[in-house]
C-alpha cells in the first residue's frame, strides 16, 4: 500500500493525487445527497470549457522560461477591452465573439511584447514582478473603464451617462453563443459543445506549435537558457514570443469565459484571475519550468470539476456562509504555495 502510494505521488505529484481524492469524495457525497448528477456533470463541463483557454495560456510562458504567468490579468484586460468594443459596434452572436477575439489579439500582442521586454530585465523575479504589474495595471484600468469614451447604453451607467458598469451583461450579445453551438443533450442536460471544441482546437494548435521550429526553440530556451544561447537561439526573443502568446491566449480566454459566464466583470474583476489558472495547471502536474497540454487538460478538469461539484455539495451540508468559496481560496493558494516550496530557493 505504501509502495503504491509512493508510486502514484511520485508519478503524479501530491496536488493531483489529493485533488483526485477530494473530487472522488465529493462525487460520493453528491450521490449520497441525491444531487442532480447529470446537472453536476454539465456544470463541470461548462466550467472546464469556460476556463480551459485561460489555463492553456500558462503553457507558452512556462515553456519559454518566464515561469507561470502571474501577470495574465494584462491579457485578460485586453480581452475585456476587445469584448466591450465588439458590444459598442452593436455586434451579436458568433460575429461578435470572433470580432472580439480578432480585436483582442493585437492589443494582447503589444501588451505581451512590452511585458516580455520587462520580464527580460527582471529574470528570476518574474513571479513577484508579474503579480504586482498585474495588480497595478488592473487598478489603472479601473480609471480607464471610467474614462473610456464608450457610448453604448448597454454598457455605461444609466445615471450620469458615462463610465462602464462594473458588470456588463452579455445576454443578447454573445452570451452562451459558443456553449450553444452544436450543443446536444445528454441525460437531459445540454453539453457546451462549441466551447469545449474551441478549447480542444486551441490545445491541438498549441501542441502543434511546440513541434514547429519556433516552438522547439522556445522549449529549448526555457529548459536551459545557456545551452540554447550556445546553440544560437535568441533566448530573450523566445521569452518575448512566449509571453506574447500567453497574453493573446489570456485575451481570448476571458472572452470565451465571459460568453459562457454571461458577464464581463470589469474593474477589480480580473485582479485575482491569474491565480485560478495557475493553480489549475499546477494541479495538472505542471511545474514552474515545465508544462504540457496534458497538464492543462487534466488540471482544468480536476480543478474546475471540483469547484463545480463542491458548490452544491458543500452548500447542502452547510447552507449558510459560503464555505465553497473558502474551499476555493484554500485550494487555489495552497496549491501555489506548495509549488513554491517545492521549487525551493535559488541559493
Amino acid at each position: 500500500m505504501r509502495d503504491f502510494w509512493k508510486k502514484i505521488t511520485d508519478k503524479y505529484g501530491y496536488p493531483k493525487v489529493f485533488m483526485t481524492m477530494f473530487l472522488i469524495i465529493l462525487c460520493i457525497l453528491a450521490v449520497i445527497q441525491k444531487q442532480n448528477l447529470p446537472g453536476l456533470l454539465k456544470d463541470s463541463l461548462v466550467r472546464v470549457g469556460m476556463n480551459g483557454i485561460l489555463v492553456l495560456a500558462m503553457v507558452p510562458s512556462v515553456n519559454s522560461g518566464t515561469g507561470l504567468n502571474f501577470g495574465l490579468s494584462l491579457g485578460i484586460l485586453c480581452g475585456m477591452l476587445a469584448g466591450c468594443i465588439s458590444i459598442e459596434l452593436k455586434l451579436t452572436g458568433i460575429t461578435a465573439i470572433f470580432t472580439a477575439i480578432l480585436i483582442s489579439i493585437p492589443f494582447s500582442a503589444v501588451v505581451g511584447y512590452l511585458y516580455g521586454i520587462l520580464l527580460n530585465r527582471v529574470k528570476g523575479d518574474e513571479m513577484t514582478v508579474g503579480t504586482y504589474m498585474g495588480f497595478s495595471i488592473v487598478s489603472l484600468m479601473c480609471i480607464g473603464w471610467l474614462l473610456l469614451p464608450f457610448q453604448s447604453p448597454d454598457m455605461i451607467w444609466a445615471i450620469g451617462g458615462k463610465g462602464l458598469r462594473t458588470t456588463i451583461a452579455l445576454a443578447g450579445k454573445f452570451a452562451k453563443v459558443m456553449d450553444n453551438f452544436l450543443s446536444f443533450n445528454i441525460l437531459g442536460e445540454p453539453i457546451p459543445t462549441g466551447t469545449l471544441l474551441l478549447f480542444g482546437v486551441a490545445c491541438v494548435i498549441m501542441a502543434i506549435f511546440f513541434k514547429t521550429k519556433t516552438g522547439v526553440a522556445m522549449m529549448a530556451s526555457g529548459d536551459n537558457p545557456k545551452f540554447a544561447a550556445a546553440n544560437g537561439i535568441n533566448v530573450n526573443k523566445q521569452r518575448i514570443i512566449g509571453t506574447m502568446l500567453s497574453m493573446i491566449l489570456g485575451g481570448i480566454g476571458i472572452i470565451i469565459y465571459a460568453q459562457s459566464f454571461g458577464f464581463f466583470q470589469l474593474y477589480t474583476g480580473p485582479l485575482m484571475m491569474p491565480f485560478m489558472a495557475i493553480s489549475a495547471i499546477l494541479i495538472g502536474g505542471a511545474t514552474a519550468k515545465n508544462a504540457n497540454i496534458s497538464n492543462v487538460i487534466s488540471g482544468t478538469i480536476l480543478f474546475f470539476a471540483l469547484l463545480a461539484i463542491s458548490l452544491p455539495v458543500i452548500n447542502k451540508m452547510m447552507p449558510e456562509g459560503n464555505l465553497s468559496e473558502v474551499v476555493r481560496i484554500i485550494i487555489t493558494y495552497g496549491v501555489i504555495l506548495y509549488a513554491l516550496t517545492k521549487v525551493g530557493g535559488d541559493n
Binding site: 502571474f70 520587462l118 530585465r121 527582471v122 529574470k123 528570476g124 523575479d125 513571479m127 513577484t128 514582478v129 503579480t131 504586482y132 504589474m133 495588480f135 497595478s136 488592473v138 487598478s139 489603472l140 479601473c142 480609471i143 471610467l146 474614462l147 463610465g163 491565480f275 452547510m318 447552507p319 449558510e320 456562509g321 459560503n322 464555505l323 473558502v326 481560496i329 484554500i330 487555489t332 493558494y333 495552497g334 501555489i336 504555495l337 513554491l340 516550496t341 521549487v343 525551493g344 530557493g345 535559488d346 541559493n347
Partner: protein
Amino acid sequence: MTISMNTQLNITNKKEKQKTSWMQELTNYSVPILFIIICLLGVYASKLNPVYIINEIVVRLARNLFLVLALIIPVIAGMGLNFAIVIGAMAGQIGIIAIKVFDMGGLSGFMMAVLISTPFALLFGYGTGLILNKTKGKEMITSLMLGYFANGLYQLVFLTFMGTIIPIDNPEIILSNGMGLKNALDLKFIQYSIDYILRPNIMGIKIPVVSLLLVVVLCFIIRFIVKTKLGQDFRALGQDINIAEVSGIKTDKTRLIAITISTVLAAWGQIIFLQNIGTLNTYNSHEQVGMFAIAALLVGGASVTKATIGQAIVGTLLFHTLFIVSPFAGKNLFGDSQIGEYFRSFIAYGVIALSLVLHAWQKYMNARNKEKLE
C-alpha cells in the same frame, strides 16, 4: 597584457559602482520627492481645510505607523517586503475577537487583546519563517501567497468553526444560524482606549499622545535590536546570505527570529489600528494591511533591500496624505470621487510594482556584470 586586463577590470568596476550608486540615489530620493509633489497637488486640488488634513494625518500616523514599522526588520534581514504581515494582523484580530467574546472593554481589554494575540502571532510567525526558509530568494511571492492562503484558513475557522467546534453562544457576534462570526463586529467597547488616554488640543489639532508614544517606543526598540548582536546578524544576512552562513551565523534561525518579530509587531499594530477604527470587518479588515503598509514604506523611499525608520515615517505621512485628499481631488477635478479612490489604489499597487521592478532589474544587472567579469 595583464596590465591592460587589470585596467579593464577597474573600469568595469568603476562603471558598475557609478551605475548602482545612481540607481540607489534614484530609489532613495526620487520616490519621496515625486510623492511630495503629487501630495501637494492633491492637497491643492482637494480644497480641504489644512487643519482638517493635519488632524487626519495625525490620526492616521498613530493608526498605521506601527504596522509599517513591523516591516523593517525582515527587509534588513534580506527577506524582502514581508507580505505575510497579513498573518500577524490575523493574530491581532484573534485577540480582538477574544476580548469581544469575554466582553472586556477599555484599556484592560486592549491589554488583554495584546496578550492573547501574542502567542498566536509567535506561532504564526514561526510557521511563516519555516515556509520562507524553504523558499529562499522567493520570499516575497511566497509570503504574498501565504497571506492569501492563511486568509482562506482564517475564513474557514471564523465562518464555520465558530459556534460549532468552538462553542460560542453570543447572538451579538454569531450569525443567526448559530454558526460563523458576523461580517462586522462593533468594537465601541475598546475604541479610542489608547488614543483618548491623553489627547491635548494644540491649535485645533488633537494629538493622541499615548498612541504616538507607542510608535516612538517601537522606533527605539527597533533601533536597539538593530544594534545588538542579533541586529548585526540580520544585516549580515541582508548583505549576503552565503557569506553570513560561512561566517558562522545560523541563517535559518536568524531568519525565523526576524519574521517572528515582524509578525508579532503586525499583530499589535493591527490591534492599535482597530482600536482607532472601532469596527472589525471580520473577513476583510486584514486583507489590505500588507499592501497598504508596504506601499507606505516604499513611498518613503525604502526598497526591497533597504528600509529605515525615517523612511517608514515619511512614507506613511505621504501615503496617507494622498489617501485623505485623493477622493476630494478626484471629485473636484473629474466630478467623480471614485476616480480618486481608484487612483490611490493604483498608486499603492504601482509603487510596489515599480520598486519590485527596480530591485529585480538591479539584481539581474549585478548578476550579469558578475558573470561578465568571470
